[in-house]
């Protein structure tokens, strides 16, 4: 359990990231080198574009600490043992993610149903009886219940045999687009995918695809999440400064997100 005492100790020991940024003339992002649409080492992701914006306000060159965004990402980047390996901020974490100190959310997205347009299909609820007969694709993360919400909620509804798993982790054989490709080419009837991934890859298909937000029923896990940026715990000064930049740049950030097809959710649950 977290104790107040431990928190205080950690706060005292924390590396002052803001000072680091000023000293080095760098403002380093912890980022995944191979994770479109979010980021890659060719700077093609929407987080890369947003990082460029933010760097302008910090009057520095954006620079990156590359690390696979898997288990241990924060520990190996922001909290790295060696100072040279540490970065100043992360661009995408759930709001109030407790491994870092988060800004206010800069976007909210949702898991979406993805299925071909124009085939008379309309799915807008996990309780639609049609789901029991369809071949459904989901992303898998690992065991021990560390899986995306669709995996749990389909299972809870007894929808098991007709569910197909896709690895969340990038590999040459299984790029993140594979689940959307499978919908487009008919290998599966429908997929339930995190919005930014679905939006980006659906646009690259020749087949028109519908993206419909997945609503949470009573007692269900959430399907919509607020996404924020994060700095090292205890570094309030840097967060304040980063927050000011986010507030100022929010319209431009939102435009970048839209350009990448990220389904953005308002509190009404509607995609805009």
């Amino acid at each position: 359990m977290i104790t107040l005492a431990l928190r205080c100790v950690c706060a005292v020991l924390l590396w002052p990231g803001l000072a680091a940024a000023q000293e080095t003339g760098q403002f380093r992002v912890c980022s995944d080198p191979q994770n479109l649409p979010f980021s890659n080492d060719r700077l093609e992701g929407f987080e890369n574009k947003i990082a460029e914006l933010i760097a302008k306000d910090f009057a520095v060159t954006p620079s990156y600490i590359w690390w696979g965004q898997r288990r241990g990402f924060i520990r190996n980047t922001m909290n790295a043992t060696l100072k040279e390996g540490r970065c100043d901020y992360v661009m995408g974490v759930p709001d109030k993610y407790d491994l870092v100190l988060t800004t206010r959310p800069y976007y909210r997205s949702t898991y979406v149903f993805v299925y071909p347009r124009g085939k008379g299909l309309t799915i807008a609820s996990l309780d639609d009886p049609a789901l029991k007969k369809m071949k459904i694709g989901v992303h898998l993360l690992g065991d021990d219940y560390t899986n995306p919400p669709p995996v749990h909620e389909l299972s809870k509804r007894g929808i098991v045999d007709n569910v197909v798993g896709f690895s969340t982790f990038y590999s040459a054989e299984n790029p993140p687009s594979a689940i959307i490709d499978a919908v487009a080419n008919g290998r599966i009837d429908l997929a339930i995918v995190w919005g930014p991934v679905a939006g980006y890859f659906a646009r690259r298909q020749r087949v028109g695809l519908e993206l419909v937000p997945v609503p949470s029923g009573k007692g269900d896990l959430p399907f919509a999440f607020d996404i924020a940026m994060g700095v090292k715990r205890g570094n309030e000064a840097l967060r304040t400064r980063l927050q000011a930049v986010l507030d100022k740049r929010q319209p431009e950030i939102t435009k970048i997100l839209k350009d990448y097809g990220v389904p953005l959710l308002e509190r009404t649950g509607k995609v805009r």
Partner: protein
């Protein structure tokens, strides 16, 4: 999962060992008797668990229960690597071979010279991008020796053969792709003319396999999977225990230790937890995850397979070592295999047929009331089966296991097994938002915590014929390092605080201890040096799953970080700091 080898016929041991050492070859244990002629000299320690039977028992007896109190440091050696140091060095003749965690350096140290200077160093080139793929620290469990070669498994899935004399790379083969979640952390094993290796990466849904490569060329001879059709598993009955084609990401990784019975010509290995679906999503027994396999080393085909934990819901990765001994069971001598599993049960099987003879809890267990010896299945407590739709509290043992990878030792002199255990339970509870690869999700919180009594570990002596504990030494932290027993009736083990302890094999009295520079998750070993004296060596260097908090300098605020390890070991930094050091002891 995580979740998270070896013995061989050392035909060429004499190549490096002195002639005198070779002539002194004797049997290490009853099970070894037939292999004695071909086994390494008692003076050496040429494979990770000392011999093909994996007993970690040395017939060397200069250090005894009477004189061990005089043990002093002879020399020490920094590995230059900070992360967790599992496994042990090996010794062949007058050379010691020391491995490190990633980047998997290998040092050859010249024992014939004062202070054991470096003879050669091998530094593999590996992409640092492999580090995030390793689940539970960047550990490596050691190298092995055969026919003038040192064999190493690298984290990035390369198996490498080095010239033992010069360190020159003789061949190198790629067994998998870390970008698909595959890594290698286990020590290879040589059986006859083949080097056998396994794969890690269960938490990424890696489909486990074992591979045999020719020791001279590296050419793959066969590969057998843990799940799938008979021709790919070498045994029938897997596919039908999975939904659809889910066996393709079925897990059952093979990152543990291996043993070999030359008379039966079978080698033994375990398989890990089933792949990436939640238990609710992978109905069926999920064979052959969580299984002990007996395989033919020439073909890879299995003579039998015994699944310890069908349809795992706890991450009781079944990869622990299988020790081959001959025991009097119910009045008759049997050739058996003894396995202390993560799930808390100690299994005794007929190693020829796979018949289950005994299964007794060696730590506090509550997920099952016992094991039905007829069917071989655990008698589960339904209240302790985890599910994604409910909180489950106080499951014992925790996912870290009643015993993890730290190998046991068996002394034929006492007839006891010496078992480093964990006393940990866990809660699967609540939900918290997590994030990987750009995806937010809600996961169960897995928190490991001390079991009954509050001590997190105990080093025990276990009588396999009665299935009962003989004595135990309670440890504040888990006993995460392996055991060593010797003909001097001394047993050695290390603690996460960094103590190397020497214990009376019969009584459990602590006879001597020394605080090494860092926590010990490695395994003590012993050998006779070129000067004719007995030495005991151990790697310290905290890390591994239990020590990930210190090894990776993780925030202590999150008890679920490190797969629940931080919850159980958040005070570890009070005891131990990072740093790989080999410490070698001898009598004055």
């Amino acid at each position: 999962m995580k979740r998270w080898s070896s013995l061989f016929l050392v035909v060429g041991a004499c190549g490096l060992a002195s002639a005198a050492a070779c002539s002194r070859t004797t049997s290490d244990s009853p099970a070894d008797a037939t292999a004695a002629a071909a086994s390494s000299a008692d003076n050496d320690w040429s494979m990770p668990n000392k011999n093909q039977s994996a007993t970690r028992y040395s017939a060397v007896s200069e250090i005894t229960a009477d004189n061990v109190k005089n043990l002093k440091v002879a020399w020490s050696f920094s590995t230059g690597v900070l992360r967790g140091h599992e496994g042990e060095p090996i010794v062949v003749g007058s050379t010691m071979y020391v491995h490190t965690p990633f980047p998997n350096n290998v040092y050859a140290l010249d024992l014939s010279k004062e202070g054991a200077p470096v003879k050669w160093k091998y530094t593999p080139k590996q992409d640092a991008a492999v580090i995030p793929v390793a689940c539970c620290d960047t550990v490596n469990r050691g190298v092995t020796y055969s026919n003038g070669k040192i064999f190493l498994n690298q984290l990035d899935t390369h198996t490498v053969a080095l010239d033992a004399e010069t360190g020159k790379e003789l061949w190198k083969v790629k067994q998998g792709d870390y970008r698909n979640g595959q890594t290698m952390t286990s020590a290879p094993m040589v059986v006859k003319d083949k080097v056998i290796s396994g794969v890690s990466g269960g938490e990424f849904g890696v489909r486990g396999f074992v591979t045999a490569n020719d020791i001279n060329t590296g050419k793959q001879v066969w590969r057998m999977y843990s799940t799938g059709p008979e021709e790919e598993v070498g045994f029938p009955g897997s596919v039908e225990t999975w939904k659809g084609d889910e066996w393709k990401r079925g897990g059952g990784t093979t990152w543990g230790w291996y043993s070999y019975d030359p008379e039966l010509d079978l080698f033994y290995h375990g398989t890990g937890n089933p792949g990436s679906w939640n238990p609710d999503q992978r109905p069926g027994d999920n064979k052959y995850s969580m299984t002990i396999f007996a395989r033919n080393p020439d073909t890879g085909k299995a003579a039998w397979a015994y699944q310890k934990t069908p349809h795992d819901a706890w991450d009781y990765d079944g990869i622990n070592e299988n020790v081959l001994v001959d025991l009097n069971i119910n009045g008759s001598m049997r050739k058996v295999l003894v396995n202390f599993d993560r799930n808390g049960f100690s299994y005794v099987l007929d190693r020829k047929t796979g018949e289950l003879l005994q299964a007794n809890p060696f730590v506090f267990v509550n997920w099952a009331k016992g094991v039905d010896l007829k069917s071989g299945r655990p008698i589960e407590d339904p209240a302790k089966r985890t599910s994604s739709t409910q909180n489950t509290k106080d499951i014992c043992p925790s996912a870290m296991g009643g015993k993890n990878q730290q190998p046991v030792s068996y002394s034929p002199r006492t007839g006891y097994f010496y078992v480093p255990t964990n006393n940990l339970c866990m809660d699967y509870e609540g939900v918290e938002v997590k994030y990987q690869q750009g995806q937010p999700y809600v996961g169960a919180i897995v928190v490991s915590k001390p079991g009954p009594g509050g001590n997190r570990g105990e080093f025990i002596a276990w009588d396999p014929t009665t299935g009962k504990k003989v004595w135990g030494i309670k440890e504040e932290l888990s006993a995460w390092g392996g055991a060593l027993s010797t003909a001097g009736d001394v047993v050695f083990y290390g603690t996460m605080e960094g103590w190397l302890k020497a214990v009376n094999a019969k009584t459990g009295d602590i006879l001597w201890k020394f605080k090494t520079p860092s926590g010990i998750i490695g395994n003590p070993m012993t050998y006779v040096g070129p000067d004719g004296k007995q030495y005991v060596a151990v790697l310290s260097g905290i890390g591994g799953w239990s020590g990930i908090g210190v090894a990776a300098d993780m925030s202590l605020d999150d008890p679920t970080a490190g797969l629940g390890a931080i919850g159980a070991f958040k005070d570890l930094a009070n005891f131990s700091n990072q740093g790989g050091v080999l410490t070698v002891f001898t009598l004055p």
